[in-house]
């Protein structure tokens, strides 16, 4: 039962996406083009997040520690 209502909810969300971005009005080949573009962009963003965000966060953390307390520099070590 839970699976069915989740599936209905996901279908409803998909319908909302279609309506908001006007892909409800598009012909099939236009929809294919639009979805390919969207999924490619989404995949690129997710890959970039996976690759770069942990590195950026740790570098930012390191910078923050340097500003806030020189006395902790010896005791805390950051594993890169």
């Amino acid at each position: 039962m839970d699976i069915k209502s989740t599936k209905n909810y996901l279908y409803w969300l998909y319908c909302q996406f279609e309506l908001i971005t006007c892909s409800y009005l598009m012909e099939p080949w236009e929809k294919l083009l639009f979805y390919t573009f969207n999924i490619t962009m989404l995949a690129t963003v997710l890959y970039a997040t996976y690759t770069f965000v942990p590195g950026h966060v740790s570098m930012a953390f390191q910078l923050l520690l340097r500003f806030f307390g020189n006395q902790h520099e010896n005791t805390v070590s950051i594993v890169k």
Binding site: W12, C15, Q16, E18, L19, I20, T21, C22, S23, Y24, L25, M26, E27, E30, F34
Partner: protein, 513 residues
């Protein structure tokens, strides 16, 4: 959002109008939708220009390619790329009388709305929420149309002449006397077409050297008449009396643009009920302003005559005012009387002037007799002169239906524009994708609605416009409301932040725990 009563004694009952703004994300998503549509529009135009796709659009001939381009402006771009995709929701042919229910001809498209073909079947008994049939006089009942049939057999259908030549029949004289009596004025004149009444008579009343102050959202017929007259036109914000007063003061203080002479005439053009917003004009304040600054008032009661007021006599009666305060009363018979044509009523001098100087009187064919008889019988029914109380019952039924429909829609959580007493109910849809989806799904549920988008409305505020009728029964309205409830949940249209609970009947019983 409620409008408070500003001049406490000016309005005899509370004037409540709603123009709720949707949350910000709705506007953002609407623009996103239009953006995607525009990008794909450019893509399709590119493909059409480079021959990758068959051209179905209007295009210039090869020899004209070096001239000024004809179809590059935004309006044509919009029509080609966005309107064409949802075109099947408009211009649907009907094949029965547009009463509370009607029959539609079924049509399908094979090439995404560029061409249509009729399958030959009809969709029967579609509930009609789009026709301007406010009092339900669009009927085929033989008893009701008895006098019309007699007149049809007596006079035929054609007049073949204009009013000033040989086109004035005794039917017209009878009708004009009846209209004058109905409205409580000295005299009236009727014309064959409602749009032409405005566009042909305003040029007769004003000319060069006069000033026209017209509401922002006036109908095209008023705008056309104003432009044809050659007078200077200034626009004031919709139903905003402060804006109008500023314009009036500037006009009187500064006069005409270059010569600084006084204006020959200042006329204010307003409508009784605005058909896209459902708002009612603020007549008491307007009349006070007009008297103070000595301007003339032209009131177009196309949608309000027959539809508001205790006995159906329009906004003048709705506000409890006297028709002597309004200089030119104009209205149409298309909406509440189930006929065609328009009238202008007022003082006898005004109407006599129009009989000689109006373009419509000189050149346009006059109203045909069966239509005049239909208006006479509808008006007699409304006034009670046919011996029954049917007219008053219709007006009361319309009021009840309007209040019920609006109250339920507010409770469900939709954003509705307009005054609580106006039978025109715009329901806001906002996003372009939802316009098509809404109209198509309502037709699948056997309900016919009118949806409107850009350019008739502002680009972010597309809407579905319902016209409540006295002929709708409670069951029909409940069917429509249930369908709207379902569709509102599916399409996520319930944006209102002020709604009460969506199912109040569940909470009305007392809890004995």
């Amino acid at each position: 959002q409620k409008n408070g009563v500003s001049n406490g004694t000016l309005y005899k009952k509370t004037f409540i109008e709603h123009f709720e703004q949707a949350p910000m994300y709705v506007a953002v998503l609407t623009f996103l939708g239009f953006g995607v549509g525009t990008v794909f529009g450019y893509l399709r135009d590119f493909m059409r220009a480079w021959g990758l796709e068959k051209r179905n659009v209007a295009a210039e001939r090869e020899e004209q390619k070096d001239f000024v381009p004809l179809y590059q402006d935004f309006e044509n771009f919009y029509t080609r790329n966005l309107y064409m995709r949802i075109r099947d929701n408009w211009n649907r042919p009907i094949c029965s009388v547009p009463g509370p229910q009607f029959d539609l001809m079924e049509r399908v498209t094979d090439d995404y709305n560029w061409t249509f073909r009729f399958t030959g079947r009809t969709i029967k008994n579609v509930i009609n929420m789009g026709s301007y049939n406010y009092l339900g006089f669009a009927e085929t009942d033989v008893n009701a149309l008895k006098t019309v049939t007699i007149e049809l057999q007596k006079y035929g259908t054609g007049i073949c002449s204009t009013r000033q030549e040989m086109g004035t029949l005794d039917k017209h004289v009878e009708l004009e006397k009846l209209v004058a009596k109905f409205l409580g004025v000295e005299d009236a004149m009727v014309f064959g077409m409602g749009f032409a009444t405005n566009s042909m008579n305003i040029p007769a009343l004003v000319g060069k050297g006069c000033l026209i102050l017209s509401d922002e959202l006036n109908h095209t017929s008023l705008v056309l008449g104003a432009r044809l007259s050659g007078a200077t036109i200034r626009i004031f914000k919709h139903n905003n009396m402060q804006s109008l007063e500023t314009l009036l003061r500037d006009a009187i203080v500064y006069g005409q643009p270059r010569s600084r002479r006084a204006w020959r005439k200042i006329i204010i053009l307003v409508e009784g009920i605005y058909s896209m917003e459902g708002s009612i004009v603020r007549l008491p304040e307007l009349v006070t302003l007009k008297k103070k600054y000595k301007a003339y008032l032209y009131l177009d009661e196309a949608h309000s005559i027959g539809a508001v007021g205790a006995t159906g006599r329009g906004v003048v009666e709705y506000f409890g005012m006297s028709p002597d305060d309004i200089d030119v009363l104009m209205g149409t018979f298309t909406k509440s009387f189930g006929a065609a044509g328009g009238y202008i009523a007022g003082k006898k001098d005004l109407v006599d002037f129009l009989r000689t100087h109006s373009h419509s009187a000189v050149y346009a064919t006059s109203m045909c007799p069966p239509v005049a008889e239909q208006i006479i019988r509808a008006m007699k029914c409304l006034m009670g002169l046919d011996g029954t109380t049917q007219g008053l019952q219709r007006v009361r039924q319309l009021g009840k239906n309007t209040r019920y429909f609006r109250r339920r829609l507010h409770e469900m959580g939709f954003i509705i524009y307009g005054n609580d007493d106006s039978p025109v109910v715009p329901l806001l849809l906002y996003m372009p994708g939802k316009i098509g989806a809404f109209a198509r799904r309502m037709l699948e549920k056997n309900i016919g609605v009118v949806v409107v988008g850009f350019p008739a409305t502002p680009i972010t505020e597309s809407r579905a416009r319902f016209c409540v009728s006295a002929a709708h029964t409670r069951e029909m309205l409940d069917t429509v409301l249930n369908a709207l409830d379902e569709l509102g949940d599916f399409l996520h249209l319930k944006y209102s932040r002020y709604s009460k609970s969506s199912h109040p009947e569940l909470y009305e019983e007392t809890r004995l725990e």
